[in-house]
């Protein structure tokens, strides 16, 4: 199947990514605009009000006051996590502009796959991903217990791909509408994030989801809940080995390296994007509800 056919088969997903961008990224930020209009908030809408990082830190440091004082951010994160339990990480797979942009860049730039990082062992990929997540929550637990002192700090705002995306969008679309964000300033951390998110994680990573796989706490947390949800029989991807012809097409299209060597799916990595379902010629991969064949 060529690129054009893949594009056609997954067109709703790519349209959904454009909608995600328009909903969250300034100067459009339509979802945030709507919320600000309803609540009478005067701030300039931007992706920062749908932060993918900070509220997770607040949960683990027990900062209930922050969670209460920023109800829109808290509601957004709880919404994404709640959906992940019942429907899988569909925010990651269908809406998140951070993941979408790096995935799009990896598809647009025709770099031969031999120059791209691709770990085929899902156990190692999961270990790297949850090593990051464990480190991330450890930092916030230390901050919550006031053990962080002056030696360790938050890795939210300084190391944030959403900020880079927002600033790039301000540079590109700033002429259209007033927008929040500035493309002029690049601190060391923002340069590191740009390189990790778009260059290494986008261009030089197979599938273009290096940031999502290894540096996004919301992605990792969502997948943990998906793993639980899949065991409980909620909406999930299922694999029927009797139908599988071992053509490996699913391995080729999966942006999250979630297909195991036996072609079943690792729910700690899968974002329910359905690229594999759409390409599978025998129908061995399908989406399912209900207890039957729930992931062990």
């Amino acid at each position: 199947m060529n690129r054009f056919e893949i594009l056609k088969k997954n067109k709703w997903r790519y349209i959904s990514f454009i909608i995600g961008f328009l909903l969250l990224v300034s100067p459009f930020a339509l979802l945030i605009r709507l919320e600000f209009w309803i609540t009478g908030n005067l701030a300039e809408p931007s992706i920062h009000y749908a932060c993918l990082r900070m509220p997770i830190g607040w949960i683990f440091r027990g900062a209930v006051n922050y969670l209460i004082s920023r109800p829109e951010m808290t509601a957004f994160i709880i919404g994404v996590l709640g959906l992940s339990l019942f429907l899988g990480p569909i925010f990651c797979g269908w809406l998140c502009p951070v993941g979408a942009v790096s995935e799009a860049i990896s598809r647009i730039i025709p770099l031969p796959n031999k120059f791209r990082i691709h770990i085929k062992d899902t156990n190692i990929t999961s270990a790297l991903r949850y090593g990051f997540f464990a480190g991330y929550i450890t930092i916030y637990i230390l901050i919550g217990l006031k053990l962080s002192g002056d030696w360790i700090g938050s890795i939210c705002c300084r190391f944030c791909a959403s900020t880079i995306l927002q600033n790039l969008a301000a540079g590109i679309f700033g002429w259209l509408l007033p927008t929040y964000g500035s493309i002029e300033y690049w601190g060391t951390a923002s340069i590191i994030v740009l390189i990790s998110w778009l260059i290494i994680g986008g261009i030089f990573t197979y599938g273009g989801r290096g940031w999502c796989l290894f540096f996004c706490p919301l992605g990792a947390f969502s997948n943990l809940l998906y793993k639980v949800g899949a065991k409980l029989g909620f909406y999930r991807i299922t694999y029927n080995k009797d139908k599988c012809s071992h053509c490996k097409k699913c391995n080729l299209v999966c942006p999250m390296w979630a297909i195991k060597s036996d072609h079943s799916v690792e729910t700690a990595l899968c974002i329910n994007c359905k690229e594999c379902v759409n390409i599978c010629p025998t129908g061995a991969l399908t989406m399912k509800w209900g207890k039957e064949n729930a992931t062990k």
């Binding site: 790297l128 949850y130 090593g131 480190g135 930092i139 890795i155 002029e184 060391t188 340069i191």
Partner: protein
């Protein structure tokens, strides 16, 4: 458990913790965010202002561009960002706050967003900030662009920010701001 899996987990765990440590180091070499509060007077040295909210650390702001990391020096040496998410009124009366950057001849962009009315022309928060209150949802940045001819000067900018009661003109807080080069060398000479 597979040895490689354990190593991968520990590697990323330690890398993440190191990122948190590096973030603190970066905040010393590339300071960007500061706390502001009124009325605090003339801040000539670090001071803690106590009030109904959290204790506010106020400090003179000094950015030494020679302390930037090689990455920053290579890609974006001439742009300095200084900003805040926190402006509190710890005084006893409501105040309409005007912000003034003094002595500034550098090109500077004001990037301000808040759930509080702000007049971009006069740099004034046009609603009174009540005692004990802070400006809600504030994201406030100055982006200074240093012209090439000033890049090698030991003192690039020496001025500060005044937080002024717009009704009376009284300066409630003054925080000095300096953008310098080679602070250590000058200190030793």
């Amino acid at each position: 458990m597979n040895k490689k899996v354990v190593i991968a987990f520990l590697f990323m765990f330690l890398l993440t913790i190191s990122t948190g440590v590096y973030g603190v180091i970066l905040s010393n070499t590339e300071p960007t965010l500061f706390w502001f509060a009124v009325p605090a007077g003339n801040i000539t040295e670090p001071k803690v202002l106590r009030g109904p909210g959290p204790p506010i650390n106020l400090t003179p702001i000094k950015v030494d561009i020679d302390r930037f990391t090689p990455l920053k020096k290579f890609f974006n040496p001439n742009v300095v960002e200084i900003g805040t998410h926190w402006i509190y009124n710890y005084g006893k009366k409501p105040v309409i706050l005007r912000i003034e950057l003094i002595n500034c001849t550098l090109p500077v962009k004001w990037d301000v967003s808040a759930n509080f009315p702000f007049d971009e022309k006069t740099h004034t928060f046009t609603k009174p900030l009540m005692p004990g209150q802070r400006i809600d949802g504030l994201v406030f940045h100055w982006i200074f662009e240093i012209p090439p001819e000033l890049m090698n000067k030991p003192i690039i900018y020496q001025g500060g920010v005044k937080l002024i009661d717009a009704n009376t003109g009284e300066v409630l807080t003054f925080i000095p701001i300096e953008i310098v080069r080679g602070e250590l060398m000058r200190g030793g000479s």
